[in-house]
Symmetry: D2
Amino acid sequence: MALITAPTPLATLAERYDQVRAFTRRLAAPLAIEDYVIQTMEDVSPTKWHLAHTTWFFETFVLSPHLEGYRPCHPQYAYLFNSYYIQAGERHCRDRRGYLSRPTVEEVYAYRTYVDEHMQVLLNHPDEALQAVIAPLVEIGLHHEQQHQELLVTDIKHVLSVNPLRPVYRADLTALGTPEEAPPLAWLSLAEGTYTVGHEGSGFHYDNEAPRHTRYLHEAQIASRLVTNAEYLAFMADGGYQRPELWLSAGWATVQERGWTEPFYWERHDDGWQLFTMGGLQPVPLHAPVCHLSYFEADAYARWAGMRLPTEGEWEVAMHLHGPEVSTATEANMVEHDALQPVPLMAAPSGRLHQGYGDVWEWTRSQYDPYPGYAPAPGALGEYNGKFMCNQFVLRGGSCATSYTHIRPTYRNFFPPDSCWQFTGLRLARDV
Amino acid sequence: MALITAPTPLATLAERYDQVRAFTRRLAAPLAIEDYVIQTMEDVSPTKWHLAHTTWFFETFVLSPHLEGYRPCHPQYAYLFNSYYIQAGERHCRDRRGYLSRPTVEEVYAYRTYVDEHMQVLLNHPDEALQAVIAPLVEIGLHHEQQHQELLVTDIKHVLSVNPLRPVYRADLTALGTPEEAPPLAWLSLAEGTYTVGHEGSGFHYDNEAPRHTRYLHEAQIASRLVTNAEYLAFMADGGYQRPELWLSAGWATVQERGWTEPFYWERHDDGWQLFTMGGLQPVPLHAPVCHLSYFEADAYARWAGMRLPTEGEWEVAMHLHGPEVSTATEANMVEHDALQPVPLMAAPSGRLHQGYGDVWEWTRSQYDPYPGYAPAPGALGEYNGKFMCNQFVLRGGSCATSYTHIRPTYRNFFPPDSCWQFTGLRLARDV
Amino acid sequence: MALITAPTPLATLAERYDQVRAFTRRLAAPLAIEDYVIQTMEDVSPTKWHLAHTTWFFETFVLSPHLEGYRPCHPQYAYLFNSYYIQAGERHCRDRRGYLSRPTVEEVYAYRTYVDEHMQVLLNHPDEALQAVIAPLVEIGLHHEQQHQELLVTDIKHVLSVNPLRPVYRADLTALGTPEEAPPLAWLSLAEGTYTVGHEGSGFHYDNEAPRHTRYLHEAQIASRLVTNAEYLAFMADGGYQRPELWLSAGWATVQERGWTEPFYWERHDDGWQLFTMGGLQPVPLHAPVCHLSYFEADAYARWAGMRLPTEGEWEVAMHLHGPEVSTATEANMVEHDALQPVPLMAAPSGRLHQGYGDVWEWTRSQYDPYPGYAPAPGALGEYNGKFMCNQFVLRGGSCATSYTHIRPTYRNFFPPDSCWQFTGLRLARDV
Amino acid sequence: MALITAPTPLATLAERYDQVRAFTRRLAAPLAIEDYVIQTMEDVSPTKWHLAHTTWFFETFVLSPHLEGYRPCHPQYAYLFNSYYIQAGERHCRDRRGYLSRPTVEEVYAYRTYVDEHMQVLLNHPDEALQAVIAPLVEIGLHHEQQHQELLVTDIKHVLSVNPLRPVYRADLTALGTPEEAPPLAWLSLAEGTYTVGHEGSGFHYDNEAPRHTRYLHEAQIASRLVTNAEYLAFMADGGYQRPELWLSAGWATVQERGWTEPFYWERHDDGWQLFTMGGLQPVPLHAPVCHLSYFEADAYARWAGMRLPTEGEWEVAMHLHGPEVSTATEANMVEHDALQPVPLMAAPSGRLHQGYGDVWEWTRSQYDPYPGYAPAPGALGEYNGKFMCNQFVLRGGSCATSYTHIRPTYRNFFPPDSCWQFTGLRLARDV
């Protein structure tokens, strides 16, 4: 497979539409038809569903209301490919997405083509008032598609992993570096005081990143880099999974119930720990960031280390003070880097926060809640974020499956504390 | 699709092997690749799995032990496609058959071809002693494959039915007759006394049909034909699903728990009851046999009618005394008739037992147990029957998805009392 | 506590009523109030509930319809203490019987007294026509109460057993004998031919024991005594719980799911196997009958031993040909023997079937079904038996918790194949 | 029953010990023995368990380590009555607390007496250094006991409520006032800026209330009083329980799954809504605070009203600026008021925050998390709070079942968002 490329940020909206949509196809290209269909746990959606659902989004929120005379591709796709948008009508049960052999993969691609052609008509329509109306909807649709690109990767990783034949997604992914050791972990300071956080300006962002507001932080320090597999192995060797005092109560119950003794996708082989990756099984790379941790595991590790996870406010301020520019995310290990797994940190200039973008989503200790003055977007699109503000923790920074055109320092991802099928890891913080 | 044909009973074993194996392919031919993959409830296996599992049977029990130098097609297929044969080794969980996107459908067909080619080598081997050893194994393998042909049909019916798009298996199935009314139900007598039941002679049969033995029957009568949809609708209209006194205790619990108010695959539409069939939705055919009943429903109907279900002994004796010859099963509505649903009884000469073969498997009131002197076959093949003798009821006669080369008057099918995804119905009996 | 005595069979009905009812109180007498209230698994009912439900039976089926001017003790007891009699009205959920702290134990005893006083009025009423009507209802009520006496014992055994304090029901129970070894197991023959089984004559019996009818048996042999703990230990030592080929498919699933490795109420201690009994923990008595086996275990043991369980027809005929008279049940280890656990067989004259009554209910291989010509009793009392004819196996002979006035050679007890909290064991049979 | 009185705050520790422990007995006094034993849902513990567990606390954390020669009352009570203190050793499963008929209630009271006598010895010991060590442990033990007093009340309410006989805890509880209408709801302002929150000084507090720290609030307003039943009925009448857009996603799933259509303990009768209270069923009092709401319901109500719940920071600051002194909690509707249900607000001087203490715990929108610089107490007592910081929301202010000696403005209670068996309600807030 040729090099994966991602959309150019400065292109026109019509060009960006094409780029993002084409990238989805490229992600699915290595799959067999059979891989598109199945659902191997409730969190996982079939690839076919991702392809159709993202298309449904444009059909429902852009074409149907704004392209005169538009007729939906199929009368029941609205029912089949809605996810949780209650105001957008009835929908097929999430846990039965794997029960749909039809429409076929070919039909789903035809659906994409149908919608794409109509979208190009609309995006090239000369009416500027219309363009002004649809532009923000298309923007959200493209970011929505990029979220599903990441899910497509993580979900297909699960689909392949449960198969005893251990199929490989691609054998030609970008290889890991193999440093002798990880750069030393340094501490970056945050002074006590008021800071401003949240999204600023007119660029695209989700409603949950706004409004920009003042927050009071207490003196703290944040680690210069992510926790590595080698460091996590020390926690395991010290009985990390056997010591209830290291865990949240709900975390310990989860460990017991599911019999967790190592991170997800790890396997103990005769010759040591192996890791299932998009490129197949491989030995656990000692100095790469530890990955596929649940919040419970990240939190237990931090407690074991005598530290804690950062709050999301601390993370955002630290990125502002010590981290890379978002424009440098192109250099980070994001989906365009084509590794599809976290890679070891090679060079690490001191005094800076490294790996802030890409590699792994970083768990914060912040439970996902509304910012002061938060107001959800109106209509069905307002269901996007606010209604999940319960039993979720915020993650920051994007992963090796996130596009650099999709990440921002204010971006708030969120998952329940027992989730571990995403590329998720941690960075330490401590009080002073 | 051209006419479906089934194997000729008198062909050589090698010819019959080809015929049965080819028939499986023909049954799967109308499907899209996606249809082969999914598992829509635990009882249902993916078509792909049926294709591979029946092939595994020949590989495991015939080729590996008896074809010199045979090398299994793939080292892990033995693990993936074993079903419940514990003595044949470890196996993949039944409820995760739908989690296997690989091997692909193409690879599974290649597996079939690989095994078929080796089987032909073996079946044409000149060593007569070898032929004598493998012939009974191949026989059981072919009957095993025919059982899975029936399951393939019933399982794919379920797969298509849960899809809101309501795909059709084939649009050109043999049409139902449409009589004005069902022939009148007559009663055939069974005199009290001793009878002999069970399989006789050297023909193929399963271990559970033997030994042939004496049984004492009491005076009874058995109905000349199956219960029809029109008759079952009268039960429904009389509150059949709302009256606990008509049901077994476990049956009533099932009715409440699953909210049953009509037979499986029935749907109430504005213009009346519709039925999901292999040819799509159609109005319930009033004079066709009622189908997809659980034992609980068949038993409740019989109680409501003031009668009972026959015992399997009564059924077998009645077929012997009043029923058709098994050689006439070619004229019955079996899979070769290519209707894939029960059809109305048209002509019904009096004094005879009609619909004994085909249309629907007939629930008997007999719980599945060992015949006196029963001994399971030795080795892994002995796991075939005896170990299911608990919480199963016996069904007799074959259905519209059974081959006429597979049925016998002594054939004992069995399912748990809440099963209804098979083509199952009932015939009444009564004490005198 | 003084010697437990049971009702005299020849007493008047009023006397027998008093005797049976008093015996229930005597069984509950050793308990603390707290023991009466709780429900430690769904099969278990609180002692308080048994006391009230048996009383409700007389109130509902005898007093309310037949004692002029009778007013129920409390308007809601009919709702609270109905069990499964659907025709007797709505009822409180079985799995919530342990959620009822009221009525208090004192109030329940007052309910018993209230009903007993009215019953004595009715039983001493001079109207002979009335007596003729109520006598069979009172009979069934007394046998119903005796069934609940047995359940009261087995349920309270469970209640005490789950308590880490291991309370003792009574410390002064009749002690076991301690023979050097069990008498040798001999085989008693059954010749092939027709036999008559089922209840005969006018004595009390349940509807499921009738009608008396002809049955054809094949040549077989049945063991002269029950299987002992020592024999069962040999099965365990031979990997009985680890070998799937010894088990029914559903049995093996149960073994895996519940982690069974020994009989219920057994515990492995440092110094060997201990058994929880009504008299507390004690070492497993080697030559006493093995007890608290599920059907699955009894069946697996028999298969391991190269034999099988008897059918219920074989058991009944063997008792008739080789067993003790039912009048000798007074000498058997039944509830009046006051051991409340199976005891070793001491003397065992050859050529006879021993332990046919008492000690343990004997699992037969017969699934519980209706006899030919079976008709349930009319009305709510007809719900007593027939509606459980699904997924139950028949047990015969009574146990150490059954009264000798309650057992008959035709008595058919039944439980699901995974039940093991009753006093249940096995006797072997074999084909010839 | 005589007037309930609570401990005097200024008494000596030994006196306070007696007062608090005696108050527990007084709360249990109206119960029948049977009421002490059962567990009617997992959240509910038997009264007997509360009595023993609070006693175990003093035995384990005070007597065993600090009273020379102390011997535990019973060797297994430590196992039976530990709750979740993992570092204090193994413990009996929470969901099986209702399976313990022993120790009896009488034995549990003897346990209390045994521990109380030893505690008085210790509390009157002349060694001042010892007193300095045990005083904080006794303090936490007394507050722990007060928490369980509240749980005892809410748990016994549940125990009585599920009984179809609808027993009454006490018939002589303090009656509600019956105002014509609720005082008008006014809005109290919070200016933007930094505030200090958290516990200050040396008084008793839990570790989760510390450290005192700076927090930045945005301009907002908070309601002067609680939401009433009449107001909540308007939400219900407007389809509140049928409109998914009003609910958090997890909340809507809960509504669907449990079939919620009104608050817990409400029942629709022919003559209107009834409420189950400690004094029995009564009509819903229109102007009393709505109670037994889950977080999901409180949040949905606020969204329906176009407002939101306050954060815990806002609540604490508002109490400081506009609320009553904590010393006036004696006048609030707390457990000493002996109503055991929320009562209508009668007089309501303007410009003040009313009902801040007592009546109902007020749900805040704040998920329960550690304060900046939070450090759990060392040892097993440190398991008290921090390990529950996941999927819990903070509640403030105490309820009608809380003692006025137990509440503080900084007190942080917490429950999962679906909990509703506590006395929980809400106060509105809004952005400006």
